[in-house]
């Protein structure tokens, strides 16, 4: 299989957020600022790559009937590792993302890739798939976070662009996540149609 295609599909053609609409819970929940989106995206990327690798390595030993529980244990292990490492070395990011880190376990993107890709492909392809999917997810979350932060509080990655009394507060709150995501998806669909 063409590895470049395998890597790049996660960004656009099969982007988890914009095309597959998977992993909506962290997408809508944490993207109140660009840096939160990026942090969550990278944490998910790590889990995706590692779980894809391990699942691809052990796929032949796992009886079909217990494959889902096995995958979940693998994923949960990596999520807990990320959580502990983040708590130890990036406490401020951990404070911001806190609640959502354990939720990576139930992020459909991670289990979806383990089930749909890693359990059928070689370890190398699986790592590339995980990396592409994860970075695509991180990209989507960062874009969404940037839009919401810019419109809502006039900042971008914490840098003031315009004074925040002109910001539309709704974009920082939960409804703004839905509105921003809806328009982003509409925009991307339009671009795709033309392409």
């Amino acid at each position: 299989m063409n590895q470049w295609k395998n890597f790049s599909k996660g960004f656009f053609k099969e982007n988890a957020v914009f095309t597959l609409l998977l992993g909506m819970c962290p997408t809508l929940g944490v993207t109140s600022s660009a840096i939160n989106g990026l942090g969550m995206g990278l944490a998910t990327t790590f889990v995706l790559v590692m779980s894809n690798l391990v699942v691809a390595l052990i796929k032949d030993f796992i009886p079909d009937k217990v494959r889902i529980p096995s995958f979940i244990v693998v994923i949960a292990t990596f999520v807990t590792i990320v959580e502990m490492i983040m708590q130890a070395y990036l406490p401020s990011l951990f404070d911001a993302l806190g609640l959502f880190i354990p939720l990576i376990v139930v992020n459909c993107v991670v289990l979806g890739r383990a089930e749909a890709f890693a359990s059928k492909n070689s370890p190398v392809s699986s790592i590339i798939d995980g990396l592409g999917m994860g970075l695509g997810f991180a990209m989507a979350l960062t874009i969404l976070g940037s839009v919401r932060e810019l419109l809502g509080s006039g900042k971008l990655f914490g840098n003031v662009i315009y004074p925040d009394q002109y910001g539309m507060l709704v974009f920082v709150l939960a409804p703004g996540a839905f509105i921003a995501l809806g328009y982003l998806i509409a925009f991307i669909n339009r671009v795709k149609e033309k392409a």
Binding site: S32, I58, D60, F61, I62, P63, D64, K65, V66, P69, S70, V73, V74, A76, T77, T80, I81, M84, I85, Q87, A88, Y89, P91, G152, S153, G167, L169, V172, L173
Partner: protein, 211 residues
Amino acid sequence: MAKTESTLKNMVLTLLVITVIAGASLGFVYKLTKEPIALAKLNKQQTAIKEVVPGFNNNPGEEVLELTSKEGFNIKVFPARKDGELIGVAIETMTNTGFGGDVKIMVGLKPDGTIINYQVLEHKETPGLGTKMDVWFKTDKGHQSVLGKHPEKNNLTVSKDGGEVDAITAATISSRAFLKAVRVAYDTYTENSGKIASAQNSQPTAEGGVQ
């Protein structure tokens, strides 16, 4: 390589092996990160204390008094001393009346109760509204600031309730919760000032004993 058959023995064995390996690796990472996590938490506490009561040279974290307010909240009092003299207390205080539940703040009081500074530690208030509390009550604009005020001499409630503090725009409930937490800190401090003072008296001898 052929796929393992889904027999009972195989399934039990696979799950057992996977969970054992997962458990072992988690235990390993836990051991590895235990110290940095504790250090990060301690660091955060120290920075907060330094910000709310500057200028001490003891270790307030070692002299912490764990008290219970009359509302039943757990309050931690960190006495800050300079050369053995009490220059203020950093009080980790909270209320459960925030818009999103608990609001935890660290507030620094002079020995007479005047507010030196504060820092918000933990809250679940609305982003963009209640979250402004981390700077709002420090900003010297209108009647926003609580710094330099005294919970007894000044009426530290929001202007809507007849007090003299401007609430955060569109976040009166969060503002009330914040001021309530300050009040809890002050009440707990005055109620236990005897205990805190006696800790102070015993302190030099304890220090002398070490030296």
